[in-house]
Structure formats: structure tokens, C-alpha cells
């Protein structure tokens, strides 16, 4: 789960990482008041989770409170890359002398946390990693030992600071605390700004929390459905893995790998998948019904391709769920069903009794779905 900038900054503040003074507001009037309180130039920042809000007009420098009011008014209620802006942050504008980069991630290939430190912040770190990797220092941290002081010192030294090096070391240690405490996949400060009066500030803040750890991050997980679309949120409530895509062929499978492979097969054959929907292992009829209902109701989905390989999942349960969903949803959408594995015969019988043809092989079923999808 991604945190909003303001949430990440609140956590930073709590853990002693310096952040420019800020307020989070939901009306232009509040923005005006906040700017007046903060004094001087402020930055108005749309609180959205999508990347690249800066280029999309979601970050504006305001010289006066009135200007802050205007920007807030523009942003609030608007959409940035499809995401509605409900809150903006009004924050003191820092006179920046240099922009630095600091983050802690879980490095999958090393299987452990890694500190990334660069004297060149404010830029796209992925881009920097491609073009000038020598400007990024990577320091692995043994998860059984935790962050060592010397590692924090090394990370800080690489930022090419003078007297602020000690403070930067302290920020690294505190960032690691945050990383551990909130089960982070990523805790990032980009840029970490050195102000013209020689102070360090986390000017932006990004935290991604491991979804698997939300059960022990109760204070955060209250509204973890917030960054999801309606259908995504509905699917999540039902414990499905669901991702929306651009095409018109809905995909419903069991198992993440098979679901992706089914999407890919449809694509290779010339079709466009409308979603990824993995009902997981061992789903009962009721759950299948709910999953299929979701796709039946989804406006963009025209064809639905159900591809089930029964292991723990029983084909008869799937068949019953399909029949049930079709009864409940009077919408007329074309279904392509492939069923294979446990209780296959029974499942096939149930579906055929309800006039649904059952494919044996994935390829021929995919071909059929693509053919139907092209016609609509």
C-alpha cells in the first residue's frame, strides 16, 4: 500500500526526520489560512498516489496566500492521471541549494534491505541508475543484524555534504527505523534538500507498505482500499486479485501465473484482455459467482474468458458458480469456458445442461474468445 505524501511526512516528523512545515487541507479557504500561517512562499501539492503529478500540474509554487488559494481551488476536485484530488498539502517553500537522494528498499535479488544514496536527488532515480550508476551508492543491510552505524555513515558521506554529514547520518538511521516499523517495501526521500541556509529537509516523501503486513499495521490500514477503483475495491473485499486493463475480454482464472498466461495467450492471438482476475485456489461456487458477477457488471468487459485448471479447485463448484452468476445478472455477455482437472466431467455436465459449451484446451478457448472479442 502506498501512503500519501502527507502521511509519509507525518511519520517522518514523528521519527525526527526534518520536513518543511506543512498543512493538509481539503478546501481552498483552508489552503489560504494555511499559507497565511506558514508565512512566505509556499508550495501547493496535490495529494495523489499516481506518479508524475509534478508534470501534470499537481505541484505549484505560490508567492502569496491568495495564489495558494487559487492553486488549491484548481487542484481540489480535479483529476490527475485519473485520480481525484481530495486533499492538497500547503508547505513552506525551501530555498534549495542542492537536491540529494536517500531511500531504503527491499532488494529482491539480494534478499535484504538496501540503502540507496545519491548526491543527485530530485531526479528520476531509475533514470539515474541507467545513465550514471556510479552516482548511486548501494549499501546492503543484513536483516538479522539491522542497520549498522558505519553503514549510515557511509550512506551520508556519499551525499557529499560538509558539516551536515552527521545530520544526514542521523536521517539515514531514522529512515531505517521507519522502514522497519512500518514494514516498508520502500521508504524514500527524493529530494532530500540542502537549503541555502545549510539545513536538510525531506521535501518529498514516499512510503510503500507491504500489503502482507497490513494486519500488523493497524494504524495505517484503515482505508487501504482508497487507491483502488470501484471494481478493484469490490474485488479486494472478496479477497480476489484483480487488476483493470484496457481491453474488452474479461479474464477469470485460478492462480496468478495461469491468469497472466491466459491474458498473454489472448494477446498473442490478437485479443485485448480487460482485466486480471485470479480467484485463487479452492474457490467454492459462491465465490465464483461473485467473481463472475463483477465481470458481468463491468461496463468495459464484452467477452468473458473463464479458464480453470482444477487442482484444489473443483470444476463442478466452478460450473455451479457460473450458472448462478448468469441467473443473477441478466446482462447478456458472451462466455468462453475452459474447464479441466478435478471433477471435470461433472462440471462440464452442469454447464452443458445450461447451454454453455466447455473447451478442453486453453489455446482453442482463447482463440474463440479473441474471435468473439473482435466481432463486438
Amino acid at each position: 500500500m502506498k501512503l500519501y505524501e502527507y502521511e509519509a511526512k507525518e511519520i517522518f516528523l514523528e521519527h525526527g526526520i526534518p520536513v518543511p512545515e506543512f498543512r493538509v487541507v481539503s478546501t481552498p479557504e483552508e489552503a489560504l489560512k494555511a499559507a497565511e500561517e506558514i508565512k512566505g512562499r509556499v508550495v501547493v501539492k496535490a495529494q495523489v498516489l499516481v506518479a508524475g503529478r509534478g508534470k501534470a500540474g499537481g505541484v505549484k509554487l505560490a508567492d502569496t496566500p491568495e495564489e495558494a488559494y487559487r492553486y488549491a481551488k484548481q487542484m481540489l476536485g480535479s483529476e490527475i492521471k485519473g485520480e481525484k484530488v481530495n486533499k492538497v498539502m500547503v508547505t513552506k517553500a525551501v530555498d534549495i541549494a542542492r537536491e540529494l537522494y536517500l531511500s531504503i528498499i527491499i532488494d529482491r535479488s539480494m534478499g535484504q534491505p538496501v540503502i540507496l544514496s545519491s548526491p543527485e536527488g530530485g531526479v528520476d532515480i531509475e533514470e539515474l541508475a541507467r545513465t550514471r550508476p556510479e552516482r548511486i551508492l548501494k549499501i546492503p543491510v543484513d536483516p538479522l543484524i539491522g542497520l549498522r552505524e558505519y553503514s549510515a555513515r557511509e550512506a551520508a558521506r556519499f551525499l557529499e555534504l560538509g558539516e551536515q554529514s552527521k545530520q544526514a547520518q542521523d536521517i539515514v538511521s531514522r529512515l531505517y527505523e521507519v522502514f522497519l516499523k512500518y514494514d516498508c517495501e520502500l521508504a524514500e526521500i527524493n529530494p532530500l534538500a540542502l537549503s541555502t541556509d545549510g539545513k536538510l529537509y525531506a521535501v518529498d516523501a514516499k512510503i510503500i507498505v507491504d500489503d502482507n503486513a497490513l494486519y500488523r499495521q493497524q494504524e495505517l490500514s484503515g482505508d487501504y482500499l482508497r487507491d483502488l477503483s470501484y471494481y478493484e475495491a469490490e474485488a479486494k473485499k472478496l479477497n480476489f486479485s484483480y487488476v483493470e486493463l484496457d481491453g474488452n475480454i474479461g479474464i477469470l482464472c485460478n492462480g496468478a501465473g495461469l491468469t497472466m498466461a491466459t491474458m498473454d495467450t489472448v494477446y498473442v492471438m490478437g485479443g485485448k484482455p480487460a482485466n486480471f482476475l485470479d480467484i485463487g485456489g479452492g474457490a467454492r461456487a459462491e465465490l465464483v459467482e461473485k467473481a463472475l458477477s463483477l465481470l458481468l457488471q463491468h461496463p468495459k468487459t464484452e467477452i468473458i474468458f473463464i479458464n480453470i485448471l482444477g487442482g484444489i479447485t473443483r470444476c463442478d463448484e466452478v460450473a455451479r458458480g457460473i450458472v448462478e452468476a448468469l441467473k443473477k445478472n441478466p446482462v447478456k455477455k458472451k462466455l468462453v469456458v475452459r474447464l479441466k482437472g478435478t471433477n471435470e466431467e461433472e462440471g462440464r455436465k452442469i454447464l452443458e445442461e445450461n447451454g454453455i459449451y466447455v473447451f478442453e484446451f486453453m489455446d482453442e478457448a482463447a482463440r474463440k474468445a479473441v474471435e468473439l472479442g473482435a466481432k463486438t
Binding site: 529482491r108 532515480i125 514494514d183 487488476v243 496468478a256 497472466m260 495467450t265 485456489g281 482437472g341
Partner: protein, 293 residues
């Protein structure tokens, strides 16, 4: 010989009294796996499918010193503890079926296992099977058949799909390992490839990858750099997956510019590993590479 599991494998089931644990204990026994004991704290003294249940792994291992593998079905919140318990009891192979373990936990116990010379398969995996010898996992046994091709996969059902296609085509498997869909697997592609390299009963290996991380790229590099002697065939799922979205598995996500399918496919091709466009093409590619050998 097969790898990891065979007819000498003696299994402990951790979380045996749970719904999943009990169900798969039955299924594994039916397949012929030698399940000798189970553990659920507080349920010691009972039995599940005729298997004696103990309160702790230590107790189970003292009573059944022949135990050499464990399979873990305990819920995510308690799974890490179950892994430590198995490692500390000296069990050398641990299959972690459990899905949803926080990655901060996984990275610690994976490291601890390596320190102690213990092999972990998973977490969030279907397990490992050496057809006709031992099924240590939740896969449907009937889609597999005994043979001389190894499978290493990040996925469950997709593996069954491909194994089934192989079986229908008369190409059996030596061992099939589901390494799991989490970002940090206990056993990586490379480690599994190393095991198959040394297995006299494996002639070729099928790698089933997916988006997320760079394990496929590293495996490709490993194949090139070590001059891997056995033919490797690959499939990569997720060509149509958008960046930044988790595709079911915790580990299946393109993030920070890393982990898209094309990069993996390219890496395999550069390593002279043939990549199937469709899962159904694996058997014919296998037939071809095995003939050329």
C-alpha cells in the same frame, strides 16, 4: 535420483489440524508420500488421517528421528515462527505453502535458513513433487508423470497446465519445484538449476517465470556463465501486465523499472534459452531440444 524429495523423504506436516493441513495430508498420503507426524501446538496426542500429532516440532523429531522434510500450512501470522522451529529442530528441507507472510519476516528466515544449511521452498508456493515417488505440496498429482525433465516455476496452476501438456505429450518429469510467488523465495531459480545440474536423472529443465524482480535475468546469466550443460526451455507469464500493479502474487509486480516480461524473455533468448510464446508450446520445444542433445 530426482532432487529434493524422493521415496526416502519422511514428512512432518506443520499445521496438520487446520483445514488445509488436514486436506493435503490426506492427498499427499494418497499419492504415496510418507507422512510420519504432524504438529499443532495444543493438539498433541490426537491424530489426523492416522498421522500422530505433536505439540512441537522438537517433540515430533525426537519421536520420529527419520523426519527429513517439513511442509508448513500454518497461517501467515505464525508461519515464520513455524519455519524457525523446523530449522532449529534440524529439518533440512522445509516447504512453506503459506501465502501472505510479510516480506520483512521472509527475508529474515530465508537468511537464517541459509546460515543453517537448510533448504526452504516457498513461501506462497505449491511445493515440490518427484512424480511416483513423493509429493510434498498441494499440486494435483495426476497431472504429473515420471520422467526426465525438471520444472522450476514461480506459479502453481500454470505449472500444472504445462506439466499436464508435457504428460499428455509423453514427456515426464524428474522433479517439479514451485519456488513460490513471493518477492524473496527461499530457493531461487539459480539454486534450483544447480540442483538439476547435478541430477543424473534430469535431461532438461523447464523454467516458468513471470514478471517482477530479476530472477529470470540472473538465471539466464547463470546458464551462460556456467556453461549449463542441460538444455533449458522457458516460459514467462505477464507480457500484458501493466507496471506498478501486483498481479496476484506478492512478487509479480513491475516496479522501479524492473521486472517486465520482455526483459526476461530477451535475457533468456540471449542465453540461447528457447522461450515459448504459449504454454502449450513447451512440449514440442522440449522434444526438439532433447533430440538435438
Amino acid at each position: 535420483m530426482t532432487i529434493l524429495v524422493n521415496s526416502n523423504t519422511r514428512v512432518l506436516v506443520q499445521g496438520i489440524t487446520g483445514r488445509e493441513g488436514a486436506f493435503h495430508t490426506k492427498a499427499m498420503k494418497e499419492y504415496g508420500t510418507k507422512i510420519v507426524a504432524g504438529v499443532t501446538p495444543g493438539k498433541g496426542g490426537s491424530t489426523v488421517e492416522g498421522v500422530p500429532v505433536y505439540d512441537s516440532v522438537g517433540e515430533a523429531v525426537r519421536k520420529h528421528p527419520e523426519i527429513n522434510a517439513s511442509i508448513i500450512f500454518v497461517p501467515a501470522r505464525f508461519a515464520a515462527d513455524a519455519v524457525y522451529e523446523a530449522i532449529d529442530a534440524g529439518i533440512e528441507l522445509i516447504v512453506v505453502i503459506t501465502e501472505g507472510i510479510p516480506v520483512h519476516e521472509t527475508m529474515k528466515f530465508v537468511k537464517y535458513a541459509k546460515m543453517n544449511g537448510v533448504t526452504i521452498i516457498g513461501p506462497n508456493c505449491p511445493g515440490v513433487i518427484s512424480p511416483a515417488e513423493c509429493k510434498l505440496g498441494i499440486m494435483p498429482g495426476h497431472v504429473f508423470s515420471k520422467g526426465r525433465v525438471g520444472i522450476i516455476s514461480r506459479s502453481g496452476t500454470l505449472t500444472y497446465e504445462i506439466a499436464y501438456a508435457m504428460t499428455r505429450a509423453g514427456i515426464g518429469q524428474s522433479t517439479s519445484i514451485g519456488i513460490g510467488g513471493d518477492p524473496i523465495p527461499g530457493t531461487s531459480f539459480i539454486e534450483a538449476l544447480e540442483l538439476f545440474r547435478d541430477d543424473v536423472d534430469t535431461d532438461a529443465v523447464v523454467l516458468i517465470g513471470e514478471i517482477g524482480g530479476d530472477m529470470e535475468e540472473r538465471a539466464a546469466k547463470y546458464v551462460v556463465e556456467t556453461g549449463y550443460e542441460k538444455p533449458v526451455v522457458a516460459y514467462v507469464a505477464g507480457r500484458t501486465a501493466p507496471p506498478g500493479k501486483r498481479m496476484g502474487h506478492a512478487g509479480a509486480i513491475i516496479s522501479m523499472g524492473v521486472g517486465d516480461a520482455q526483459s526476461k524473455i530477451n535475457a533468456f533468448r540471449e542465453a540461447n534459452i528457447e522461450v515459448a510464446e504459449l504454454p502449450s508450446q513447451i512440449p514440442e520445444i522440449l522434444r526438439k531440444v532433447l533430440k538435438n542433445k
